[in-house]
């Protein structure tokens, strides 16, 4: 149990709300080891239990079953004020009657640090998040982005070993969110603090994380580096949630998986088994139906052409489910264009098709 390589180890963790017939398992059987100094992300749709998990780690709530160890120490029953963990809350929770400086210095004051030290740390934190000159303002005199920075500075000021961030960027506009992403990531690298970052935005998760735990229904669906999660989704949910893969039902035949309207995809498996083929929309090339080569899928019919500025995508019909193909703009100039009604074939990149158990 005394493994100090892990900042936070969760063992068989579960949280159930209510009892008896109305019991709701918000979290069940979570086993995770979050390593020291890593940028760890909990990614999942709304209501999957991300906030519940953070609250358990922070000590705001107690698990129904299971254990939490922070740097090797079991924290069962330990109140939040004794845990070396700070939180950036989903809605910031800044103290409205205190100034920016007082908010940022709050934890140090509670820890009984000397005034001079508090002042110095507050100045350093305010500078770190770029809020110089706003020390005297109150939260209601700040913009959303500025509030977010105060919340960050406030949580960082006491020098926590673990920083929990509950969708800290969700209230910001797209441009600011983009910038805060890089800033947060840089901050994490510089400080070496373990970040546990919650989001339901897959781009955010992929761009920032060292490792991602994809959650759904109170359970971890897959744990891995961003590349692993994206390239090798463990199941249908992950394949669909991250990057919206095409999920095609198929049945195992003697030469591979047979999918309606597409043909046979070479694969090995138990004959007759129902499987799902996962293919990313950007890992398919689209060609006119005429020059059909072995390994091509189709033919299919273009149902819709969707122009989105930086990419062009097509919705194709003729298989068991509608398929989506996306061409990046770079490949677009030389590439062929199609209109609704055109007959086309698909050529998957090598290794692009993943076989998932249904």
């Amino acid at each position: 149990m005394q493994d100090h390589g892990d900042a936070c180890r969760l063992t068989g963790l579960g949280r159930t709300y209510g009892r008896g017939a109305s019991a709701h398992h918000a979290l069940g059987g979570i086993d995770l080891a979050i390593r020291a100094n890593e940028f760890f992300t909990l990614l999942g749709p709304s209501g999957c239990g991300k906030t519940t998990l953070l609250r358990l780690i922070a000590g705001f709530d107690q698990p129904t079953v299971g254990e939490i160890a922070i740097f090797g120490r079991n924290v069962a029953g330990m109140p939040p004020e004794d845990r070396p963990v700070n939180t950036v809350f989903q809605h910031y929770a800044l103290f409205p009657h205190l100034t920016v400086a007082e908010n940022v210095g709050f934890a140090l004051r509670m820890l009984g640090r000397p005034r001079t030290e508090i002042a110095a740390t507050v100045a350093r934190m305010v500078e770190l998040v770029g809020l110089e000159g706003m020390e005297k303002r109150r939260p209601d005199q700040l913009s959303g982005g500025q509030k977010q920075r105060v919340a960050l500075a406030r949580a960082l000021a006491p020098g926590p070993k673990i920083l929990l961030l509950d969708e800290p960027l969700s209230a910001l506009d797209a441009k600011l969110r983009q910038r805060m992403r890089s800033e947060l990531k840089a901050l994490q690298r510089e400080t070496g603090i373990t970040f546990v970052f919650v989001t339901h935005d897959q781009d955010e998760a992929l761009a920032m994380s060292d490792r991602i735990a994809v959650m759904q229904g109170g359970k971890v669906q897959q744990l891995g580096r961003p590349e692993e999660i994206y390239e090798a989704p463990a199941n249908r949910f992950v394949a669909d949630f991250i990057g919206g893969a095409n999920l095609i039902p198929a049945r195992m035949g003697p030469e591979g998986a047979v999918a309606e309207g597409l043909g046979t995809i070479p694969a090995t498996g138990t004959g007759g088994a129902e499987v799902t083929l996962a293919i990313r929309p950007e890992r398919l090339a689209i060609l006119p139906a005429g020059g059909h080569q072995p390994g091509d899928l189709g033919p299919l019919t273009v149902a819709e052409r969707i122009y989105m500025g930086n990419e062009l995508s097509f919705r194709l019909e003729g298989a068991a489910v509608p398929l989506h193909v996306t061409l990046p703009r770079g490949g677009l100039r030389g590439a062929l264009d199609f209109a609704p009604g055109d007959r086309v074939a698909l050529r998957p990149e090598a290794g692009a098709i993943r076989l998932l158990a249904s």
Binding site: A58, P80, N86, T87, H91, F106, A107, M110
Partner: protein, 266 residues
């Protein structure tokens, strides 16, 4: 379209509503306006105006018995309102922030004084206090007033606490504040407008109380409303009007202040 037009369905636009409302207001306030007008009477009559003066106000301020009763009233109201505010705050914190079992029943107990006819409370208090040997006087008044002030103090405090983000206390805990400091540094300052508003309401309810005070006040502890009533038995002079007008003024000021405070900063 007509169904969706809220202006057409607004009760204020029904014929006759405006007139009825104006009449009702006039009817309610006419006696008080009359009382105030005659407090400026230069003569002794309470039904014939003999010119205007501050004569009776001077009489009120010169009257030591009125002064003593007013002091009793204010002292009693300050003590009762303060005790009631402390208790109401404790009750509100428990009701809003904690998981209270039988919440409805607890709420009913808190608001009991609002539901029991005041004369019943008064008589019950009188009997009970003499049974336990407490007798009449200032001590009994403080206990009784505190009791019926609690629901009045409770309402604005609970309302303020309900609208306050409980996440702030969680955030304070996350930032290493222990329970007492969370309360002192976060909950209390944010609750302050509710506390003040509740205190003022309790203060005014205590200041204006007559029935319970008339039963429980002893010789040295007569309150102002009780004293005014006793003045009536000696014959009505505009002095009664003057002291009553002053009470109306004080009450109105306190209620307005309380309203302004509870509306500010939410």
């Amino acid at each position: 379209m007509a169904l969706l037009d809220t202006r057409a369905r607004d009760i204020r636009n029904l014929p006759g509503v405006g007139v009825t409302a104006a009449l009702a207001v006039a009817f309610l306030y006419a006696p008080i306006l009359f009382l105030m007008l005659y407090s400026f009477n230069d003569g002794r009559s309470i039904s014939r105006l003999d010119g205007l003066s501050f004569r009776w106000y001077r009489a009120v301020f010169a009257n030591e018995e009125i002064g003593g009763a007013a002091l009793n009233s204010v002292l009693l109201a300050v003590i009762a309102a303060s005790l009631a505010t402390v208790m109401a705050t404790a009750a509100a914190l428990a009701m809003v922030r904690m998981r209270v079992r039988r919440k409805a029943a607890t709420y009913a107990v808190l608001n009991f004084p609002l539901m029991v006819p005041e004369i019943v409370t008064a008589i019950a208090s009188l009997i009970f206090f003499s049974a336990i040997g407490l007798g009449l006087g200032f001590g009994s008044l403080v206990i009784a007033h505190t009791t019926f002030c609690i629901p009045f103090a409770y309402l604005p405090i609970a309302a303020r606490l309900t609208s306050m983000d409980a996440g702030l206390e969680v955030a304070a805990a996350d930032l290493y504040a222990r329970p007492l400091r969370r309360f002192a540094l976060i909950t209390l300052p944010l609750l302050a407008p509710g506390l003040l508003s509740g205190w003022l309401l309790a203060f005014i309810v205590s200041l204006d109380d007559f029935i319970i005070s008339s039963m429980l006040s002893g010789p040295g502890s007569t309150t102002l409303p009780v004293h005014i009533y006793s003045m009536l038995r000696l014959g009505i002079t505009p002095e009664v009007n003057a002291v009553s007008s002053l009470m109306v003024l004080a009450s109105a000021l306190v209620v307005i202040l309380s309203g302004l405070i509870s509306r500010r900063k939410t």
